[in-house]
Assembly symmetry: C2
Homo-oligomer: 200 residues x 2
């Protein structure tokens, strides 16, 4: 039997096109033909390499969920850093990831809504939100407030502008440059704001 020697270049062309089309239009609105065309090759090749639209999507989705949680997971579980330090690390790191991947949050969130079983990382995500060092430190600082409230604020202030970016674009309110400028300003502002919330 012959060993499979897959041309990495072609495979990568397909998955790169899949990343683009899936994240832009979502699973349901994506046509496998769109991906093939974007990759500059035949539709049948897509199934030759990845068997089905569903399988290809799962790959992209897992990757994207990894990106969304990957940056923060090691930070929030570090017992060497203080609460204050964690916030100062998370905010700029996360905003940079999102600047590189503006459509990421809306893509992941809407696909999880459409198909919760696609959310394979749910266990890890749950642990970050309930059993991380960050949660313990938040509870120490403010024992009377559900730590989830602060996590929602911290992540929300980072993510929300990217979720609403299509609105800004559609209303002609912000071009790409001024949006990025806005986010750059937030890098220091969010840290200040979250500290204010925690100290009062």
């Amino acid at each position: 039997m012959a060993k499979k020697k897959i041309d990495a270049s072609t495979e990568e062309k397909i998955i790169e096109a899949a990343r683009k089309v899936f994240t832009e239009k979502g699973y349901a609105a994506t046509r496998t033909r769109d991906i093939a065309e974007e990759a500059g090759l035949n539709l049948a090749l897509l199934n030759y390499y990845f068997r089905s639209k569903e399988k290809l999507f799962s790959l992209v989705m897992a990757e994207k969920i990894g990106q969304l949680f990957g940056v923060i997971a090691p930070i929030v579980n570090d017992d060497k850093t203080s609460l204050q330090e964690k916030i100062e690390l998370i905010v700029p790191a996360y905003l940079n990831v999102l600047l590189q991947n503006p459509g990421l949050p809306l893509f992941v969130l809407s696909e999880i809504r459409n198909n919760p079983e696609h959310f394979s990382n749910r266990v890890q995500a749950g642990k970050i939100l309930t059993q991380s060092i960050l949660v313990k430190q938040l509870l120490e600082k403010q024992p009377n407030v559900n730590p989830l409230q602060f996590i929602l604020n911290l992540l929300g202030m980072c993510i929300f502008p990217f979720v609403t970016k299509p609105v800004f674009e559609a209303s002609g309110l912000l071009n790409n440059a001024s949006f990025n400028q806005l986010i750059e300003e937030r890098k220091t502002l969010i840290v200040k704001w979250v500290n204010l919330m925690l100290d009062n």
Copy 2:
């Protein structure tokens, strides 16, 4: 020529089913047959009353955008209330709308991303974000910070939990009751937090 006497009950059955299916699954993943079945009637009736999937969707979408901006528009443009008062009015009012319509933000945002031209309200939305009384009052209070930063925080802290609700549900982290509890707590917390941001 005969006057059209449409049975309001049937028409309403269809649009109510459309509201449900469209907001749950999004435009692309929705099948007109799903809507017909949900409404308990024939697929052809749907086209008899509403001509096309697209037209029916536009109706629902306009309605939903109205819900999303309707509550805040009159508040932010009121020149009789102070900045402080506006915040105290917006937060609980908006959270109540969202509690009644948890899927609303994610639906509207992802559909605008998929199809920006569906966003018919874009002019009005743009004005709220740039020319409202609220914006002027924010600028008076903090001339050195783009008022959009505060609006993003105010709306984001209200909306973000609802956008991430599918994640909480999928990870089994929060049931509906504890989610609602979390939001109830936020009604006073967000007001406090936003005031902190504006006073520092």
